[in-house]
């Protein structure tokens, strides 16, 4: 991939939510999880979604990733409008265009590391691009662990397998749900480093939900959510900036 094409892609939008609302329940018990959220995730950009518990950050990610349904508005991945898709088409979309990294790693214990990495292609019935998979494996440093099963790997190694799995099928966008939540800081830093490298060097698009300012500092841009709304965003964040913002925000929340 050349630098020019990466620059090109930076201007196009990988995923977009417009006036996205998600409402649980009805009447008195009605809870608005997302309130007319409009947000864009540009290609080859690493975005972190932050917010206090219950702010709707996970719901936003789930809706944009086609894991959850929404009440109104629209979500597009590339050119595809998600609102009109049936479960079958959504499944196919996730399979072909989206990669996932979960907090609890979620590897299949019966498969080896390599089999876990190529699982999305197996499901799609596609032959994995061997060169690409090899380079991904080299990047996450798992070359000597490929035959191991998840139970034989440390938490950090397991999450690296999960990262490789997300990257291996070259999805248009990767979603991470607190990918470092279950890791110690060193392993967490490694995983975040891989994600940032994949964006910088491979032009991958990554969206990550986190509540950790240090993790958010790896992103190109941070989107802040509160009460189901986007309240702010920040480019080129540092951990201190983010932390300050969160503190400020907390204070505001308390006084209001």
């Amino acid at each position: 991939m050349t630098t020019a094409s990466i620059a090109d892609r930076a201007t196009t939008v990988a995923a977009r939510a417009t006036d996205l609302s998600k409402i649980y329940g009805q009447g008195e018990t009605q809870v608005v999880a997302l309130d007319r959220v409009t947000v864009e995730f540009r290609q080859a950009e690493f975005t972190a979604i932050m917010g206090p518990s219950g702010s709707g950050k996970s719901t936003l990610m789930h809706c944009v990733a086609g894991l959850d349904t929404f009440s109104s508005g629209s979500v597009r991945i590339g050119d595809t409008e998600l609102g009109s898709l049936k479960d079958k088409q959504l499944t196919k979309l996730r399979r072909d265009k989206i990669g996932f990294i979960f907090q609890a790693f979620n590897l299949l214990p019966t498969l080896t590391a390599l089999e876990n990495i190529t699982l999305p292609m197996d499901i799609a019935g596609r032959k994995p691009d061997k060169q690409w998979v090899d380079s991904v494996i080299r990047m996450v440093g798992l070359a000597d662990r490929l035959g191991h099963r998840p139970a034989q790997l440390s938490g950090g190694q397991q999450q690296r397998v999960a990262v490789a799995r997300a990257l291996a099928s070259r999805p248009e966008i990767i979603f991470g749900d607190e990918p470092t939540g279950n890791l110690d800081s060193r392993s967490g830093a490694e995983v975040l480093g891989f994600l940032r490298n994949s964006v910088r060097e491979l032009g991958q698009t990554v969206v990550m939900v986190t509540h950790d300012p240090v993790a958010a500092a790896y992103a190109d841009r941070v989107v802040f959510l509160a009460d189901g709304r986007i309240v702010d965003e920040m480019y080129k964040p540092t951990a201190d900036n983010v932390l300050d913002f969160m503190k400020q925000f907390d204070a505001k929340g308390r006084t209001s």
């Binding site: 789930h62 894991l67 959850d68 479960d87 079958k88 499944t91 196919k92 996730r94 399979r95 072909d96 990669g99 996932f100 979960f102 907090q103 609890a104 979620n106 299949l108 214990p109 019966t110 498969l111 699982l119 999305p120 197996d122 499901i123 799609a124 019935g125 799995r165 749900d177 607190e178 939540g181 279950n182």
Partner: protein, 844 residues
Amino acid sequence: MFRTALRNVLAHKARLLMTVLAVMLGVAFVSGTLVFADTLSNAFRNQSAKSYDDVAVAVTSHADPDNPKEEPGLSARTLDKISAVDGVDAAYGRVDGFAGVADPDGKLIGVGWSNKGANFSPGKDGKDPAYTFTDGSGPVKDDQIALDKESAAKGEYQVGDRVRVATNGPVKEYTLSGVFTTEDGAVNAGGSLVLFDTAVAQKQYLKPGYFASATVTAAPGADDARILDAVGPLLPDTADAKTGQALADEQAEQIEQGMSSLKQVLLGFAGIALFVGVFLISNTFTMLVAQRTKEIALMRAVGASRKQITRSVLAEAAVVGLVASVIGFVLGIGLAVGLRSGMAAFDMKIPGGPLIVSATPVLAAIGVGVLITMFAAWLPGRRAAKIPPVAAMSSVHAVATTKSLVVRNSIGAAVTALGSAAIVLGASSGGDDGRMYIAAGAFFALIGVIILIPLLSRPVIALVRPLLVGPFGVAGKLAGQNAVRNPRRTGATASALAIGLTLVTGLSVLGITVGTAIDKMTTDNIKADYMVSMANGGDLDQSALTALQKAKGVSAVSPQQSVYFELGGDDFVSASAVTPGDIEQVLKVDVVSGSVDSLAKGQIAVAEKTAKSRGWKPGDSLPVTYGDEKKGKLTVGAVFKDSEFLSPVLVDTEVVKPHETQPYIQQIFVKVDGGQSASNEQVLIDALGDNPAITVMDRQDIRNEFGGAINTMLNIMYGLLAMALIIAVLGVVNTLAMSVFERQQEIGMLRAIGLDRRRVKRMVRLEAVVISVFGAVVGIGLGSFLGWAIGETIADQIPGYALVLPWDRIGIFLVLAGLVGVLAALWPARNAARLNMLNAIKAE
């Protein structure tokens, strides 16, 4: 602790559902059997008591009517003497035998073996207390008969109609004088009863003027025992007397015995069903305990002792067992009622009577249900007690170590080897002893294989895994791996199916092997086109033979006529009189030495084994004593190979004719020009006078006659084993449902990264199919081995025995096992596909 147990049961209602179902079915089977047997024997006992109700004393003659030296039965004079005894109201002479009634189409009414004919024995008042006439009156003339009500209805006969009746002679036409009801056993068993005038019946069944038995009624207030004492001295040596009460008791005891063997067979199958249920229950509790590891560890941490933990699991099992047993018992009563009406629907006559629910079946059924459940939960309970308190703190589930599997495998291998050795030993030694070894060996081999099944599961399933990946892709691959993920659980699930299929396959192999041998024997030995015999299995009249010899188109006809004579000293031999020249055309006679033509010269043919053991060879002249005590000499003309269809000694009918007043013809074999055809069969039927009591069987009928019983038997066995198989299927459902529940998170992940619902379903379904087919394969293997072993012990009793593996049936069993898997997976697969992805992937 009990409260915790109760709460647990309520909390896991859905997960305990299959356990409850399994226990319930087993208990229903047990209680249904017990209640059914009680109800039935009560009804039969009442009936037999009723049929002897007004009989004070019954007299039976055991005389041989053909023995000229003794009185052939009870004479009218004897009866008169009995009637004169103080306290006797009347004595009724009885004589009976076979009588078949034709319906207007000429077909026999009722089942062949209980079509009875008897005499109408009117007392002073012109009535016979054994029969109550609903229409007309008893037969008092030569050409009159009376019919039981049901047979009359079946033949649509009215009083005054002409009815064709066959005893063992030619058919005769009689006028129906009356229709009656009776408590007679033959009628109650679904047969027919024809009453003749006494003189006619005596001539037909015994000798004129004589009775085979008598029933004595008492005057009001007379004592049965005193009458018995007075009657005894009046009887000839060949007769004895008993009180009606004694006879009723005797019959009741016989009924009880017959019932208890039926009961044991049914309970045996119920036991198998419950045994299979043990695996399901044990699996359920193992999984419940595993899911509750943290909770249990917490209880241990706050001070519960190991014993308390085990006890709490057992208490939980007891509650489940009790609930299931109570429901099962109610179902069992329904089953008993259903069985009774089911038997009635199959024309098996069962006397009516109230449903008997005594305390024994209630206690037995519920006790069995509760104990089985607790027994099955005992191991999981102990395992629960071993959970260390520290497990409460860690997030990782305690994983079973491989070490315990090593111990398990060694024990399993030893037990299997022991069992297999006993089976092989039994097969090689043969006979009853051999079968004992096999029975014991089968038990151990089955237990051993069950212990070994977790070990077997890995390599066996690994073998079929490529078959899954090919056509089913990633779903197949994951299913194959999931199936061996928890070898114990897979093992216990497969065991349940394996037990059922071991029995089904063993019985099939044995049944088909024996059936094939018999069928081959039949087709090899019978060259005749038709076999003619009596419907009741009795002897044919000479006139039937004469008629067939004269029939148009008959090319060869030979009877198989039992001959009683002593040959070569004072040894009795079983012999048959046959028609020379024809016998070798209707049955295979494989001559070893001499010539079969010698039969026509008045010589005899002897089977090889008999000839060898007696040292006879062609040309030998042997002294013979005929049935009428006359003596003579017979020359051995031929020696032939032993055959199931030929007596050891064959002789020309003409040779024995002067010595046999009443030839006993068992069957007549007929060969006709042009072979089998509907018209030829009709010619024979017409020649026999369209006799409803005579059956004409073609070759296929003959094969069915000899081999059909085995198929019927097999089908009954399959039916009885179905219960065990249903419980095994519940086990598969249970295991899958629990597995899906435990794997929620990974199924959610698979859905998230793009596995569609269809393939999630397919994954679960294939896992079920793999486990089911695995169980089936183990069962079929073990069953075939057992079938072979038992077959070996009876091989020398069946000529032409050769092991036949019923591949078609085995194939059907495998396909059925696969279908069972698909069926069992319906609900779990649906659950898996509908799983809420977001809940599933959420971190704990």
